[in-house]
């Protein structure tokens, strides 16, 4: 996270101004807060208050018609025994595997296009294209690619000698979730590639030159010079992509609807179903609070990794 404001800009009264200090302070507060007010009110009303409200709701039973009823930890106790929720939690944690794969793949892609070659910027644009594509369109196109028996991918695999019979990418309980995750990865590579590119370009060239002079080969240079220098970018990508993985909804919702059965149902899909289809609002809020705690825990681990690396 950002260290405290490095540059503090003062609007101290200039010499010769005889205005009482108190009135100036009042005026400054009024000016400052009036600039801040619109955004601050929106943040308060639509982020902070709902967050507090979510925590309160998680301790209640509420169906949006009769008043919420306080029931203590009953929702959380029920959740631990709720097979569907535990299943969704497992799926969401499994979804986190997208993060290490994305880290490696997008870093490799960044290294690949981090050179002066004719047409390299064309390739960068081509790799970024999936990032801007609406998730719904992405999900739809990929669900036709994955379709069995006659989707594009199955047609291709059928040409190979060792594949017999179509593979049920989205309709078998073991493959549905990994297939959705592979699309999450397809959509993310470009974004993280750009972040790694910026990180790579910020590495002082003297460092690499020194390594080369010392006789390091390309692989040694990558592991002993480039990688340690990239640590901030790696942490950033780890945090952002794991938070995105925990929030997965659009792709599984469109591609599999959580199925077959509940094999690819994520926590956010559970929250959506409980809150907006079954109107178990307190219960759904408790699911949200658990997701929030996982998010916090994971970010904490990621930050600690960054700090530890800084000290060495």
């Amino acid at each position: 996270m950002e260290p405290h404001p490095q540059q503090r800009v003062r609007t101290a009264p200039r010499a010769g101004q005889a205005r009482p200090a108190r009135r100036t302070a009042c005026r400054r507060a009024a000016v400052g807060w009036s600039f801040l007010a619109p955004a601050f009110l929106l943040i308060l009303l639509f982020h902070l208050i709902p967050a507090a409200y979510a925590i309160i709701l998680s301790f209640t039973e509420y169906d949006s018609i009769s008043a919420p009823e306080f029931i203590g930890f009953a929702n959380f106790r029920a959740l631990m025994k709720d097979r569907l929720f535990v299943n969704a939690l497992k799926n969401t944690l499994f979804y986190l595997l997208v993060t290490p794969v994305l880290l490696v793949v997008s870093l490799l892609v960044a290294v690949l296009v981090n050179r002066r070659m004719l047409g390299v910027s064309f390739f960068r644009v081509a790799y970024y294209l999936p990032v801007v594509t609406p998730a719904v369109a992405t999900a739809i196109v990929w669900s036709f690619i994955f379709r069995s028996p006659n989707g594009l991918l199955n047609q291709f695999l059928q040409q190979l000698p060792f594949v017999d019979g179509p593979i049920h990418f989205l309709t078998s309980s073991s493959l549905a979730l990994p297939s959705v995750m592979s699309v999450e990865m397809w959509k993310g590579i470009g974004y993280y590639m750009v972040i790694f590119l910026a990180g790579l370009q910020a590495i002082p060239s003297e460092l690499r030159d020194a390594a080369v002079v010392d006789g390091a080969n390309a692989v040694q240079e990558f592991f002993y010079v480039t990688l340690p220098q990239l640590w901030p970018s790696i942490t950033f990508v780890a945090i952002v992509s794991s938070m995105a993985a925990l929030r997965a909804f659009d792709l599984p919702y469109i591609m599999t609807g959580g199925g077959p059965g509940h094999a690819s149902e994520t926590v956010v899909m559970r929250i959506y179903t409980e809150a907006f289809e079954r109107l178990n609002i307190g219960y759904a809020a408790a699911e949200g609070v658990i997701l929030f705690l996982i998010t916090l825990g994971l970010s904490y681990v990621n930050m600690r990794m960054l700090e530890r690396r800084d000290m060495t």
Binding site: L36, A39, L42, P134, G288
Partner: protein, 282 residues
């Protein structure tokens, strides 16, 4: 090793690099090519043929026309999405730049507290607050309105943070000169400082456009009647209704994607800047 050997090696390396780049490009762009080509294929063509034909045998626009006609209000979805994107952009740029300006250039009590409160909201996943958010929107009478989609997601801690960074970089002399000339605080922000953050504004405009256009879950919750749907929600509806007709669905998906592709290809530079601006804060 002779000089010629070195040269040969260099050529081979280059060829290999290009080969890898092309393979990755086929992976990322292939689905687009396939979707676009399918959307233009005539009814007599086998869209499941392998290897897929890239150029349609009997190219036709009829799939687009049918998708447009068969889905109720498909044209309206585009207007709705544009309205929501436009509203989000205006509110985001307006409110975030003012807040960023205050946090970067004004001294006032409570400033750092406000900054930390705003930053802390970055840690709250939207999906966690969406339930109470729905109740708030319901209370405000904004259910099934475009404003109900816009307001909760318009201003984010991230955009305030980006503007703060942009304002921090500007030299203090500008501000002092304006103040000596008797410029009001608002005038300094609006006429002197804000125009100097144009790159940030441009980045925010296109990022807000793309994310607003692609947003699915929140509009799905807030918008109840098909007339109000955004393109993303309408596309999901199209897919659920006509899942058997690949050509129509591909035509709909292509139509839904074209606006963001145009914006992206026209302003690529800013996408790269915007994405890295986020990373540099680490």
């Amino acid at each position: 090793m002779t000089l010629r050997d070195l040269k040969v090696r260099r050529v081979i390396t280059k060829a290999l690099l290009y080969a890898v780049m092309i393979v990755v490009a086929i992976y990322t762009v292939g689905p687009f090519v396939w979707a676009i080509s399918t959307a233009f294929k005539g009814p007599g063509e086998n869209v499941y043929a392998f290897p897929p034909r890239i150029l349609p045998e009997e190219p036709t626009l009829s799939n687009f026309v049918t998708a447009w006609q068969r889905v109720p209000y498909f044209g309206q979805y585009f207007i709705n999405s544009l309205l929501i994107a436009g509203g989000s952009i205006l509110i985001n740029i307006g409110a975030s730049s003012m807040a960023g300006y205050a946090l970067a250039r004004l001294q006032f009590p409570g400033r750092s507290l406000a900054f930390w409160i705003i930053l802390s909201t970055m840690m709250i996943p939207f999906q966690v607050v969406m339930i109470p958010l729905f109740l708030v929107v319901l209370q405000l009478g904004l259910l099934n309105t475009h404003l109900g989609v816009i307001l909760p997601t318009a201003v984010t801690a991230f955009s305030i943070f980006l503007f703060r960074q942009a304002f921090l970089k500007l030299p203090k002399e500008l501000e002092d000169a304006a103040r000596i000339d008797g410029c009001s605080e608002w005038g300094i922000y609006w006429r002197i400082m804000l125009p100097l953050t144009k790159p940030t504004i441009a980045t925010m405009v296109i990022f807000t456009f793309v994310s607003s256009w692609g947003e699915f879950l929140w509009p799905l919750i807030v918008l109840r009647s098909p007339r109000m749907y955004t393109v993303a929600v309408g596309l999901a509806y199209l897919q659920s209704q006509f899942s058997a007709n690949l050509r129509w669905i591909m035509a709909g998906s292509v139509l839904a994607t074209v606006p963001v592709l145009i914006v992206f290809l026209a302003f690529q530079r800013y996408f790269i800047e915007g994405a890295t601006a986020g990373a540099l804060k680490g």
